[in-house]
Symmetry: C2
Subunit: 204 residues, 2 copies
């Protein structure tokens, strides 16, 4: 019997996924939200923690932080981290790698592939969906520095260059340089476009 | 027996939702993607067509169009449209209303609530989740005109004001006025922020 903790932000889809996995007699599935998963010791009592990397939480600029934090806590126990990722978004794969994920399942897959990945990772084996392979290559070539990513996420959050300068204790000229670098490196037409491009790639 | 066509863009979640609903002996569930749903006559052979309003299709600026188009085709037959919507995004509810949806189920609900809504709408009754009621009120008070929404969606797509002026055959001054109006009306700090605010509300 494999104990699975499924973490997903959308209750309807979370329940459905838990029901689909729960039909497998070898899996004992518990489903929860990010917030609940981060409290108590539920996650470390599971053999495998399945997490959707794309948590659409409007208005949460640090929405990608929980994965890193979750990974840190899982490594302290013996729970394997298995992520669900949309294809074509190398930033998601990169964050999952940084969080120490052992399994990577494409959201284009069928639930039986996910069940297979759960079995593999429960035994300590790595599992990577073929469909995500190009994103692993993309994930190693992120064009932006951590500082540039920080500036870009503040832009995405609606901050003006002046506000960013204040918040990061930089001159406005320096912020302008960062914005120009981000726009150029992402091949974007302007800063709104840089936000769009980077969000689609999963960098921010 | 109620024939249900489930339209969702993410195969893994689509299969899981279909499996969860399919456990109900009264429902015969078929699942498909937007693209497949819009071809042939599958949708009009169903009693109820269940659609997730939030189709995260990166790089598709007209990603909200299919719902209107789908609604038009369903009205031609006798298939009821039932939408799944995240709460707090009145723009999604508004688009669903415009598409002629009969059922509105919150994605915070459990699958058994969705099954109930499917039964109601299959019999021609309206079904609205209580959790979505505030969004119906919000949906009637969209602050932006169709033209302003068009300008905003072009900004969101990465167009510069000059490009927008060219595409809409407007002067740059007029575009600047639209951008200023959009920013003011959405209570945003700047145009990037206006895109963020409007996307979160589901207007674009």
């Amino acid at each position: 019997m494999i104990r699975v903790l499924l973490v997903h932000e959308t209750p309807l889809l979370r329940s459905a996924l838990a029901a689909a996995l729960g039909a497998d007699p070898e899996l004992r599935v518990e489903a929860t939200s990010w917030r609940e998963a981060s409290e108590g010791d539920r996650i470390t009592r599971a053999d495998v923690c399945v997490v959707d990397t794309d948590t659409p939480e409007p208005g949460a600029p640090d929405r990608h932080l929980p994965l890193l934090d979750l990974g840190r806590r899982l490594r302290a126990g013996s729970t394997a981290l298995l992520v669900l990722a949309a294809t074509g978004r190398p930033g998601l794969v990169r964050r999952a790698t940084e969080a120490g994920a052992l399994g990577y399942v494409s959201k284009d897959a069928e639930p039986d592939r996910l069940a297979k990945a759960i079995r593999m990772t429960a035994e300590g084996h790595r599992y990577v969906d073929e469909a995500l392979a190009p994103d692993f290559i993309g994930a190693t070539t992120i064009p932006l520095t951590p500082r540039e990513l920080h500036v870009l996420s503040l832009i995405a959050d609606g901050c003006s260059p002046a506000e960013i300068a204040d918040r990061l204790h930089l001159s406005r000229g320096t912020v302008r340089n960062y914005v120009a670098a981000v726009t150029r490196k992402t091949g974007a037409r302007n800063r709104v476009d840089a936000v769009r491009v980077s969000r689609e790639a999963g960098w921010i």
